[in-house]
């Protein structure tokens, strides 16, 4: 048997010991995973971004404008110095500003306008039938938005709308729970497949 499969199997069982209770075997495996994952990410980030987009173009390609992100990136490390830690605000401000700038049109169009516009749909279909679903979506949308509107007390008509909104939210959470159970079980089934087929070789 492949040594990799043996190691994978033993580490899998080490993690599953947590189901009994927290124990040194599980904790050791967990910390080993944390260290390896961070190390892996470090290598991947270095190779795919710092080398590809910074070091090679700057030092081998003569793209000197890249000195700016290099300096800003190095300033991130100033947060470990007591006196100069404020310098780390500069690259953080750049990243936050950039992210905020691209987010505005994306949120406005994709999450707000497009979603609102697609809620406005014909009640009568082409074949003359009544689209009850359009009513369901419209009622669900408006009542759930009413629930999240906290600038006004949920009393009277507003209160009733918010209550209906709660019911729609419960439907959403119930559906999400159902699908989440599906997802978690699938992950467990995958590990059982590995243990029975590859590790213990009980199945073909």
């Amino acid at each position: 048997m492949d040594i990799g499969i043996i190691i994978a199997g033993l580490l899998t069982l080490a993690i599953y010991t947590f189901l009994y209770r927290d124990n040194p075997i599980y904790r050791a495996a967990e910390h080993w995973l944390i260290g390896l994952t961070i190390g892996y990410a470090m290598v991947v980030f270095w190779q795919t971004t710092l080398v590809d987009l910074l070091i090679l173009p700057l030092f081998a390609g003569g793209k000197y404008i890249l000195v700016v992100p290099l300096i800003l990136g190095l300033l991130m490390f100033s947060r470990f110095s007591g006196r100069f830690s404020w310098l780390s605000r500069l690259p953080i401000a750049f990243m936050i500003g950039t992210g905020a700038g691209v987010a505005i049109p994306a949120m406005l169009y994709a999450r707000t306008l497009k979603q609102l516009s697609s809620s406005v749909a014909p009640l009568i279909a082409e074949d003359g039938g009544f689209n009850i679903e359009v009513v369901v979506v419209a009622v669900g949308l408006l009542t759930t938005l009413a629930y999240f509107y906290f600038s006004r007390e949920h009393k009277g008509a507003m209160g009733k709308m918010a209550k209906v909104g709660t019911y729609f939210l419960m439907i959403f959470f119930g559906a999400t729970f159902g699908y989440t159970v599906m997802s978690r079980m699938s992950t467990f089934i995958g590990r059982i497949d590995f243990l029975l087929t590859d590790f213990l070789r009980l199945l073909g």
């Binding site: 892996y40 290598v43 679903e133 119930g174 978690r184």
Partner: protein
Amino acid sequence: MRTRIPLLICLISGVIMFAQYFSRHPVARSIFNNVNEWWQIIFAFTLFVGVMAFAKTSLKKINRSQDSIYQIISLAGLILMPLLAIIGGTKIGSPFLWIFESMIAPMQATVFSLLAFFVASASYRGFRARSVPAAILLVTALIVLIGRIPLSDVLSESLPKLAFWIRDYPSMAARRAILIGIGLGSMTTALRVILGIERTYLRGE
């Protein structure tokens, strides 16, 4: 100066990235491409800052003899991966990738699979129809759980259709409302950040 310069940088970068959405002019595209590239590069540095912080915390704990052995195990893993990458490269067949496939991937999948047990336990202990909303949540979950398995056809052909209908209409409507709320909130927060009204990112050095 310690606050003004970062706020100015935030304003300029935010306005540039917002404005680029409305211009196809070559100069605008060029500025956008450069800023976008810088964003990618500076972001990569943040991981290394995190790694340094993690190493610093682990070493402190080792000095204080707090869970020393576990901290040493983490640090060993942290050092091992770059070492292997330097020695043996990172492509298929390398020790670096072997560790990923034999240790990282299986362990991560296993940690995630623990949730199956917790979900089962929570289903027994926490999932009670205490009130009307709770009952609605419960019934919906049951319909979806039954409706999405092939055996549901044995009970009724309508069950899978009902499960899909719930997902496509009432559930989707609630999710859409949440999305719109998040969208509006994100936009206002982004505007506040660019205009310097929201400054929480300047704290915590």
